[in-house]
């Protein structure tokens, strides 16, 4: 066919039809409704957060009208419900730090190394079996971990190292160990996902230089996945800081200012848990104390999250 004929034909296409309308055929209310539903959901979570902060802050202000900052942030003993009361909050801050620290000391190495195993060493088949099992750990109710710590871990450790646990069966280290086991899957699962998202080309590039598997894992894959790995640790730390049931059952309730893993401690969450479930009247100093402690916990988690976001921004290696 001649090129000119083709051109003529192309011009002729649709010439005898009326032009199509470009206006929408319906007002599309559905789109608008969907948009408002989505906005409402987003606003709900913002409102909830604000409501929690306000409900924490109001009683806290009431608390500090009665107790001075100096008395609260002190190493005096922690006995807000005794007569005369004493409000050295560092006792329970250190209690929280202690159980969290021992928990992380267990969970970071175990979780991180099992993530390396799952992502870099395990065959497809092994990963398919092991990963769900690990994730089931994360679904076990924390009260079960607490009972497990008191009835199993504590006697086990007590027999292995006599004299380690000062007031059997309660010890910060035992609670920490149980917390650690509980958060291992958070670290391993998220870190594994982050490491497997690293493009295979980077691994090949390193292998082609004569790097061994462990070198490729630790010097190429881990740095490239560091933001995900740190995120998993942050998430795990938040869980450890906020964990209540395990510490309530396994850490004891003596607010001792110590990092000794064998000592019984009271954490901030355990204090809130015991006091709030006890018989207290609103407006009393005991009641307000709960909220003051809650604010401290909230600020601690917030600061930790902020620091870790900074760290991630600084150290992450962005691939593409």
């Amino acid at each position: 066919m001649e090129a000119r004929d083709a051109l003529e034909m192309a011009r002729g296409i649709g010439a005898d039809k009326p032009p199509r309308s470009l206006r929408s055929s319906s007002p599309r209310y559905g789109e608008k409704v969907i948009k408002y539903v989505l906005v409402a959901c987003a606003v709900l979570s913002v409102l909830t957060t604000t409501a929690i902060v306000v409900s924490l802050l109001v009683p806290t202000i009431g608390f500090f009208e009665q107790v001075s900052f100096g008395d609260f942030f002190s190493t005096e003993s922690w006995a807000p419900n005794l007569e005369p009361p004493s409000f050295g909050v560092f006792n329970i801050i250190v209690g929280t730090l202690s159980t969290t620290l021992w928990g992380l000391l267990v969970a970071i190495p175990v979780g991180f190394l099992s993530a390396i195993y799952l992502s870099e060493y395990a065959s497809k088949r092994v990963r398919k079996v092991v990963k769900p099992i690990l994730e089931v750990l994360a679904g076990i109710p924390t009260v079960a971990f607490g009972v497990f710590a008191v009835t199993f871990l504590s006697p086990l450790v007590g027999d292995a190292v006599p004299g380690f646990i000062k007031t059997p069966p309660f010890a910060a280290g035992i609670a920490g160990l149980a917390i650690g086991l509980m958060i291992v899957p958070i670290i391993s699962s998220i870190s594994d996902d982050a490491m497997r998202a690293v493009p295979g080309g980077l691994r090949e590039g390193a292998y082609a230089l004569g790097a061994g598997k462990f070198t490729v894992s630790t010097r190429v894959v881990v740095p490239a996945a560091i933001s995900g790995i740190v995120a998993s640790i942050v998430l795990a730390t938040s869980r450890a800081l906020g964990e209540t049931m395990i510490v309530l059952l396994a850490a004891g309730k003596s607010p001792n200012l110590t990092l000794d893993p064998g000592a019984s401690v009271q954490t901030m969450t355990a204090f809130i848990g015991t006091t709030a479930t006890g018989d207290i009247a609103t407006g009393t100093i005991s009641y307000d104390t709960i909220f003051a402690v809650g604010v401290v916990l909230f600020v601690m988690t917030l600061v930790m999250n902020m620091i870790s976001i900074r760290l991630v921004r600084k150290f992450r290696e962005v691939y593409e």
């Binding site: 497809k124 980077l202 090949e204 390193a206 292998y207 082609a208 230089l209 004569g210 790097a211 962005v318």
Partner: protein
């Protein structure tokens, strides 16, 4: 090597080299001892000897029965249509196929007389001597300097800083990046990234460089630069390149192997097979096989 050397001397050098290669490939190699087998090598002296090499993935044959000899300090091109197994074949040469769990390699893959798949051979040591550049530039998400320094650091080679500069100069990249060595490699253009990968490869003093379609993701100007670079690098290294681009093979390579996709009678199984391997000029001007001629003249493929 001495061109007028006596037969006996050459022979003893050959056995000495074979021994040194065997040693280099075995597990207990001392890094400081590692010397380039290519340093004293004559052009065209065999580096690889493939005897009936085949590869299968999960029981499915990808390439079958390839026999050829690849010479030192030459550029050997593997060409052929998609799926003919040329990349698979290339990956046999530094045991990259080991990274695919289901891959199996058959036949003999001799490197300076040592079977690369022999029981004593450690694939990590193989890859120290036989580097690779990939289809898509794959710099590490690190600084330009750290990209090059990675290999030498990991292998514990001395004078890292000097090596980085030397490698960047050899890859014709030094003048472009010397003022921004601390910048992230991902800020470079695609062509620069690929030359960075070449520099990263030569920073560990390999004997052979394998290139798997190194220009397929690049524009013609960047490709031209890589081709110029290859011609310079063949002074020091043996190069095997897989390419889709026949003009590229014709321009840079000394020898060319043409592979083809074979089908069995049921047309269900397909695999790659070597059709012809010869001097590049002969392959492109006067091939022995009509299938080669059809391909290089553009009648098929």
């Amino acid at each position: 090597m001495n061109s007028n050397g006596e037969e006996g001397k050459v022979e003893s050098q050959m056995t000495a080299k074979k021994k040194s290669t065997e040693k280099a490939l075995s597990r207990k190699i001392e890094v400081a001892e590692r010397r380039l087998p290519s340093a004293s090598e004559a052009v065209g002296e065999p580096v690889f000897g493939l005897e009936g090499v085949g590869v299968s993935y999960g029981g499915k044959v990808a390439v079958r029965d390839v026999s050829m000899t690849i010479g030192a300090k030459e550029i050997t091109a593997l060409i052929g249509p998609s799926g003919c197994g040329k990349s698979t074949l290339l990956r046999c040469l530094n045991r990259m196929n080991d990274l695919v769990p289901s891959a199996e390699v058959f036949g003999k893959c001799l490197y300076h007389g040592t079977d690369l798949y022999g029981p004593e051979v450690d694939p990590v040591e193989v890859r120290k001597l036989i580097g690779m550049v990939f289809q898509k530039p794959n710099p590490f998400p690190k600084s330009i300097y750290d990209n090059i320094a990675f290999g030498p650091k990991v292998l514990g080679l001395p004078d890292v800083e000097e090596r980085v500069e030397r490698a960047l100069r050899s890859a014709a990249l030094w003048d472009e990046v010397k003022d921004r060595l601390d910048d992230n490699a991902y800020g470079m253009s695609g062509g620069q990234q690929q030359r960075l990968c070449i520099a990263r490869c030569i920073a560990v003093d390999p004997d052979v460089i394998l290139m798997d379609e190194p220009c397929s993701a690049l524009d013609p100007i960047s490709s031209g630069k890589i081709e110029d670079l290859m011609l310079e690098l063949k002074e020091d290294f043996s190069i095997v390149i897989v390419t889709h681009n026949m003009q590229q093979a014709a321009r840079v390579s000394d020898k060319t192997a043409f592979l083809i996709v074979e089908l069995d009678s049921t047309e269900e199984n397909r695999w790659g097979q070597l059709v012809e391997y010869d001097e590049t000029e002969k392959i492109f001007t006067n091939p022995a096989d009509s299938r080669t001629e059809d391909y290089v003249t553009g009648k098929v493929g």
